[in-house]
Every structure is written in structure tokens, then in C-alpha cells.
């Protein structure tokens, strides 16, 4: 993968977070088992398999992103807004990833989101992953998995 895909992930995440969520993050090593609160995921599909892109974020970071996205205060963010905004984050990261791999066979799926611990999935076998920090504090991670049919 690895380095190339990681760089693509970094570029896409930076672009989306800066343009739509008004947040700038620093990237860091993506270690397993970090305690984030929400996971959003989107798939790119073709006839041979799928690429799963998963984003995990802390609740505080998710709340801040949602507030920025909707132009409201953090205390006004409700759970529906938060989950909907995280789905849209995954949607835009997936779209940006697709644009950069530039292969017409792949089609973007519908994003989904869940609270980690309720319906979590194992992302430890990811083919690429990056972590990101907001003002020095670990805020989330992103992983890409290729899953053949």
C-alpha cells in the first residue's frame, strides 16, 4: 500500500476537513486500539471486490466538526446531526479517494455510521491507515481495506 495510499488518504482528509468542516489536522502514526467513539464507513465497489474506507473519531472532535459543518454551537449539536455529519464526512472522503485513484470501474456506495462498541468492526488488518490530531490531541484515524469478492 501503503505509502501511496496513505498519502492519498492524508490529502483527501485534509481537503475535506479544511473545506467543509473548517478543521486542520496533523497526521500521525495509526496505532491499533485507540479509544475513539464513532466510526463512519463507505465502500467503493466494483465487480472484483470493494475498498472499505473507515474513519474513527473521538466524540469531542465529531461534535466540533458537526458544529463547524452546520454553522452552529457545539452545545446545539444533537446525536442525529452528529451521525449525519460523520456520514457526510465519509461520503466526501470516499469521493475524494475515488477521484484520486481515478479508476472508472469503482462506484461509491452509501455511507454508514455507528458508535464504536455497539456495532464495531475490526480494522486491524487495514492495508493503509493514518491517525490525525487536532491541536496536539489525538482526534481520529482513517483506514483503507481492500476486500475481494
Amino acid at each position: 500500500m501503503a505509502l501511496e495510499q496513505e498519502q492519498v488518504l492524508r490529502d483527501v482528509i485534509s481537503e475535506v476537513l479544511e473545506a467543509m468542516f473548517f478543521a486542520m489536522v496533523d497526521f500521525e502514526e495509526c496505532g491499533p486500539g485507540r479509544p475513539f467513539d464513532y466510526e463512519s464507513e463507505i465502500h467503493l465497489l466494483n465487480h472484483n471486490g470493494r475498498i472499505a474506507i473507515s474513519l474513527r473519531v473521538s466524540e469531542g472532535f465529531a461534535r466540533m466538526l458537526t458544529a463547524n459543518f452546520l454553522g452552529i454551537e457545539e452545545y446545539q449539536v444533537n446525536d442525529d446531526d452528529l451521525e449525519d455529519s460523520l456520514k457526510e464526512l465519509a461520503n466526501m472522503v470516499g469521493g475524494g479517494y475515488h477521484a484520486r485513484i481515478n479508476h472508472p470501474d469503482w462506484q461509491l456506495g452509501i455511507p454508514r455510521v455507528w458508535k464504536i462498541g455497539v456495532e464495531g468492526v475490526d480494522s486491524t488488518q487495514a492495508s493503509a491507515g493514518v491517525g490525525f490530531a487536532f491541536f496536539g490531541e489525538s482526534a481520529g484515524s482513517a483506514v483503507v481495506n481492500y476486500l475481494p469478492c
Binding site: 455529519s85 461520503n91 470516499g94 469521493g95 475524494g96 452509501i110
Partner: protein, 140 residues
């Protein structure tokens, strides 16, 4: 001059963001209808006059392709401007949407200036945009 607008997107948050972006771009909104997919949009429209539709492409139930096809079959909506706001990256699919009757598209993530410029071109209403709140002055 105000416009009746319809926003079609399965993300309620994205509909809010697009509406806010339109308002901050100086686009005067009359009635704003919202739908979470193409089928719901067709059900809500039911012959109502609408000046502009902004629609997502990837949606459950009926996606942007199904929506534009069905919309253009109705005489009242055959010339209604439809702008797709989408994460779709495939140029062929985007061009297909234009062939089916789309008026333009904007890729997410977008900047307010892009929506303002495209709609100004499509709606031919640059004076209205100048009269409204400037993007630079917004707190969005």
C-alpha cells in the same frame, strides 16, 4: 427576486449546509422544499412550480440518475435547472447526468464561491447575487 428551491439529499446536514450556502451567496430563497431521495422529491413536487433543484447523486430508493430521468418526463419540469452536488468522481457518469438533462454539477467538498458562480451562470441572475450577503462577510 426570490426563487423557489428544492434540495434533494439523503443527508439532512448537507441540505442545511447547501441552504445556508445559497443564502450566504445572496440567493434569495422563497419556498424551500426538501427531500431525502429522488422518489420523495417527485412525490413532494407533484406539479408545484420550482425555480431550481439541487440534488445529490448517490441516494437510497431513487438516485440522481433515476430522478433526472423521471423529472424530465414531466412537461412542467423539462426546463427546470437541476444542479447536482455530488461526491461522484467518474467523469463519464457526470457527463451522463448532463446528457439526461442536468444543468451542471458541483463536486463535494465545495466552496461557497463555486456554488455562487455556477448558479449565477445557470440562473443568469448576477445582480441578485451582488445584492445579497457577501461570502467574505459570512460567519459560515
Amino acid at each position: 427576486m426570490s426563487y423557489n428551491v428544492m434540495l434533494v439529499d439523503d443527508s439532512r446536514s448537507m441540505r442545511k449546509v447547501i441552504l445556508k450556502t445559497l443564502q450566504l451567496s445572496g440567493f434569495e430563497i422563497g419556498e424551500c422544499l426538501e427531500a431525502s431521495n429522488g422518489q420523495e422529491a417527485l412525490d413532494i413536487l407533484e406539479g408545484k412550480w420550482i425555480d431550481l433543484i439541487l440534488s445529490d447523486v448517490h441516494m437510497p430508493v431513487m438516485d440522481g440518475f433515476g430522478f433526472i430521468r423521471a423529472l424530465r418526463e414531466k412537461d412542467i419540469y423539462k426546463d427546470t435547472p437541476v444542479v447536482f452536488v455530488t461526491t461522484e468522481a467518474n467523469e463519464d457518469r457526470l457527463n451522463q447526468l448532463m446528457v439526461l438533462g442536468g444543468s451542471g454539477y458541483i463536486r463535494k467538498p465545495f466552496r461557497p464561491e463555486e456554488i455562487r458562480a455556477l448558479l449565477g451562470r445557470i440562473m443568469g441572475e448576477t445582480d441578485g447575487f451582488r445584492a445579497g450577503t457577501s461570502v467574505e462577510g459570512c460567519d459560515f
